[in-house]
Symmetry: C2
Subunit: 344 residues, 2 copies
DNA sequence: TTGAAAGCGCTAACAT
DNA sequence: ATGTTAGCGCTTTCAA
């Protein structure tokens, strides 16, 4: 029976290098107050023993976890089939790779009151959190906030709180841009497939759509909500067609839903863009690949994620950080919105 | 100046409930040896103080981190635009939600010898790891294995190791199924857009393609590699067309590449499926949505992820676990592979 | 520049 | 059933 060799500790390294634990600790933490010879011996010992510091022990005394939580309060599969999610993670991971922070992905019930999510956030395993895909009824962050955990929202929260900055895209303006473009194409009966009303992005895009329509003196009654999924987009489009057969333009609150709507329009014999102009939101790959290619609003997901990390790092450093960062959007015109008779 | 109130500890709860720390610990850890009255007082104190155990302290003594690492040795953005990644995370997250384990997403350079990845894995912050998107030159797991960290590969590693189980899909058979189907459609000049040769999935699918072609007595020289990205798929298809203008069938090692190849074929004036039959691999949403809808091989990503979690949990429990779990595939026939003259 | 010693918050013998 | 005690591995004063 071999004695199960456990991982080497600071003590082992100290013995091997013939110095004290404190000196080893200084070397590991790049403290300059170590002689060259001692440092050399310690480094050699670390190498020889394959020593890696135990983070639990370190965390216990430094009260730092060296990791941040990315909280996605979604229990269903939607978030995984949504390119928004991938872009967000990518942006966060990239921004984090410049630091020593690890990323802990925390998922759970949106309305988790004092369950897993809030327990985890208060457990001290992370130094801060980025909360995304926030729903109106979420409460888990309250206890975490009370515990003093630095947090930033990726996507404006329903009730912005002092000390909890957020980064968002100007959804209202983006939606207005989309509607403006549709109006400019000569469309007069413009519907929308809106996002879920318990999410700010959904509500804001609806607001922008409505505002611009009213400014143009056009009716703003053709609204159906979807949950940002393809299935919802297809169903919503069918419903709009049934209730408003005269529609000639649609602003869809996400590309995923828009691409599905395109298909539904096709099945109903409506030509896009000749009969109906369609504008999406996000500018994902799906927009480029759609047939016809989808006119859409740029959603700067990766820059937003980077900003969120930047804000959180600032919070962790005790810096003064802005209460909100809002990124601008722009319109990308492709074929789905320009009727043949307007093309030159 | 308010004294910054730090998080309540076991000690605080013990004082509040007028019991010892040990009793509080027992209540927290559901130890039955506590009287009802004591338990009640402790629970009340926990509630009153908003106590949450400090996981670093607990980890230090239990030597458990209550989390597992999902290692994705990819530094680039590819992994995020790949639906394979989303499915994998989804499967793992779902399987993990039944446990108390958290999921730490660890990304890094594929060839990271003794860098971040291996340091992290040896740091004791996780109880085990699931390694996915494994490349031939990866080495980071060696030191982790030496340190005794339970690990499972999601996707067969190049050199299977004792004690490190893997779960994989039968890529060779899947590819063979695809080729068999193409042959049955009367195709005789069948090319392939293969995956990267430094990944097992890429190599295995190429093997299956080759094996089946040889069995059918057909040439197996039309091969171009791609890195599973859409751009690579488009470029590879163009190259195949240039070098083998007589091709009438293509097996593409991923749906992402296949959909891009479809577009390239269209641009080159080849009709799919009339001139060229195309079969992909993965059966992602993109396959359903493609025009024409893509015939493909089912890649049971989510079940694989669940299996991986199951194996890892077994390892953590010290159970005997199989060295490998291989899931089977099947063919899903859609329009991209059946020429008009074969349809009825 | 270095070492000794205290203690982070918790669990787990051991004692009662 | 409950309390006492001894660490887990590390950082960090404080002395030397």
């Amino acid at each position: 029976m071999n004695k199960r060799r456990s991982a080497p500790t600071l003590e082992d390294v100290a013995a091997e290098a013939d110095v004290s634990r404190a000196t080893v600790s200084r070397v590991v933490n790049a403290d300059p107050r170590v002689s060259a010879s001692a440092r050399e011996r310690v480094l050699a010992a670390i190498e020889a023993l394959g020593y890696a510091p135990n983070r639990a022990a370190r965390s216990l005394v430094t009260r730092q976890a060296d990791s941040i939580a990315v909280v996605i309060p979604e229990s269903d599969a939607r978030v995984f089939s949504d390119p928004f999610f991938a872009g967000t993670l990518h942006g966060i991971a990239t921004a984090l790779s410049r630091t020593d922070l690890q990323m802990v992905l925390v998922m759970g019930q949106p309305d988790d009151g004092d369950g897993r999510l809030s327990k985890y956030l208060r457990g001290g395993h992370t130094d801060g959190a980025i909360i995304t895909s926030h729903h109106r009824r979420d409460e888990f962050w309250r206890t975490a906030q009370a515990a003093g955990l630095p947090m930033v929202f990726l996507g404006r929260p329903f009730a912005p709180m002092a000390g909890m900055p957020y980064v968002d895209v100007d959804n209202v303006h983006g939606a207005a841009l989309a509607v403006k473009h549709l109006v400019e194409q000569g469309r007069t009966r413009i519907a929308t497939i809106a996002g879920p009303s318990d999410m700010v992005a959904g509500a804001d895009r609806l607001t922008g759509w409505r505002r611009e329509l009213r400014a143009a003196g056009l009716p703003d009654d053709a609204v159906v909500h979807g949950d940002f999924s393809a299935a919802a987009g297809a169903a919503a489009m069918a419903e709009l067609l049934a209730n408003h057969p005269d529609l000639d333009g649609v602003f869809v609150a996400s590309d995923v839903m828009a691409v599905a709507a395109l298909e539904t329009l096709r099945r109903h014999g409506r030509s896009v863009p000749d009969d109906v102009s369609v504008v999406g939101f996000d500018n994902t790959d799906a927009a480029v690949e759609a047939t016809p290619a989808l006119t859409t609003i740029v959603n700067p997901i990766v820059p937003m994620a980077r900003q969120a990390v930047g804000l959180l790092l600032g919070l962790l450093d005790g810096d003064q950080v802005p209460a909100a960062v809002t990124l601008s959007t722009e319109l990308v015109v492709r074929s789905s919105s320009i009727p043949a008779d307007r093309q030159h």
